[in-house]
Symmetry: C2
Subunit: 190 residues, 2 copies
């Protein structure tokens, strides 16, 4: 029955990559089909609409983040190491052909996004913020991080700056991205 059982996963991989590369309005079923060596309609067979495909990409991304943060490899890290791990996600995203944060990419086009994709974007952002807030609080309580104000506000600032820095790096080069990460460490650890 299956000519290649992993077609569905490959479509999700390609869609995720294209989303981070060109944005939601910048990729098409034709792109995915061509790169997969398959016809347009085959993609529609696995994901009937672009809305369903977009939502599935974000859902998988959310599941992955949940899995990682609940795994002992991350859970048992110190606050500093946890933050370094979080930064490394963005560093790797940047290194991977100058890609951009999935949440940031979707938020830029938020006003032309279908409903379920909007809701998935909102949920993903909320989960990233919640984890960052917890880590920041834990680190300050442990005396590792130093900052004024609410952990929730600092979490918003850090996430927003990482999203923005990935985008800025496209126009200005990788140095600008690393500058932001460096500056955050200066601010938090001093």
């Amino acid at each position: 029955m299956p000519r290649s059982t992993n077609t569905q996963r490959t479509i999700l991989d390609l869609a995720e990559s294209l989303l981070q590369d060109k944005g939601y309005n910048g990729f098409s079923y034709a792109h995915i089909a061509t790169e997969l060596g398959v016809k347009n309609a085959a993609v529609h067979y696995h994901f009937p609409t672009k809305e369903a495909l977009g939502a599935a990409v974000i859902q998988r991304y959310r599941d992955r983040f949940k899995l990682w943060t609940n795994n002992a490899r991350v859970k048992d890290l110190s606050p500093e190491e946890k933050l370094d791990w979080f930064f490394s996600i963005y560093t790797n995203t940047r290194a991977d052909h100058g890609k951009v944060c999935l949440a940031g990419s979707l938020e830029t086009e938020f006003n032309s996004l279908p409903d379920t994709v909007r809701e998935q974007t909102r949920a993903l952002t909320a989960e990233l913020l919640a984890w960052l807030e917890d880590t920041l609080k834990e680190g300050r309580d442990a005396g590792a991080f130093h900052f004024n104000g609410e952990p929730a506000d600092k979490a918003s600032l850090i996430l927003a700056s990482l999203q923005g820095a990935l985008q800025m790096a496209r126009a200005m080069g990788t140095k600008k991205f690393h500058a932001v990460v460096t500056q955050h460490k200066q601010d938090l650890l001093a």
Copy 2:
């Protein structure tokens, strides 16, 4: 000869608004023509290609920023007031139907942008960064701002976070944007 002499300016206004609302790939000549009450080809008469229109929008934005920052109203402000003025640009952008920073919007789609639009985006970002860096340096020398590391790095962090915060606010509401501004003041003035 002119049925309405300000058509060109109105096109630029609409294009700028649509860019900040839907992104470069999210707006079309048809959108602009319809909202202007004019035909498709009339827009092409004023701006032969989408590339030319996009570049013209950014060029005007750059000219405006240069004019503002060179004007005594901004130039003679204290560093704290200058930063507040800069923040207010983004606050107003956010308040204006949840729009997004022009530079951030373009950077997200950078990989599918025509050459001259890319170059304009790079130039705009460089000018914003340069002004922020100068203001930060001036403020630290005057004892008004407190931060570790290089002013250039802190400028990158602040600009990236403002771009990101405008995007985040779309999915999460205005509060998240104000949280970022509040946190920056906490960080710089403490």
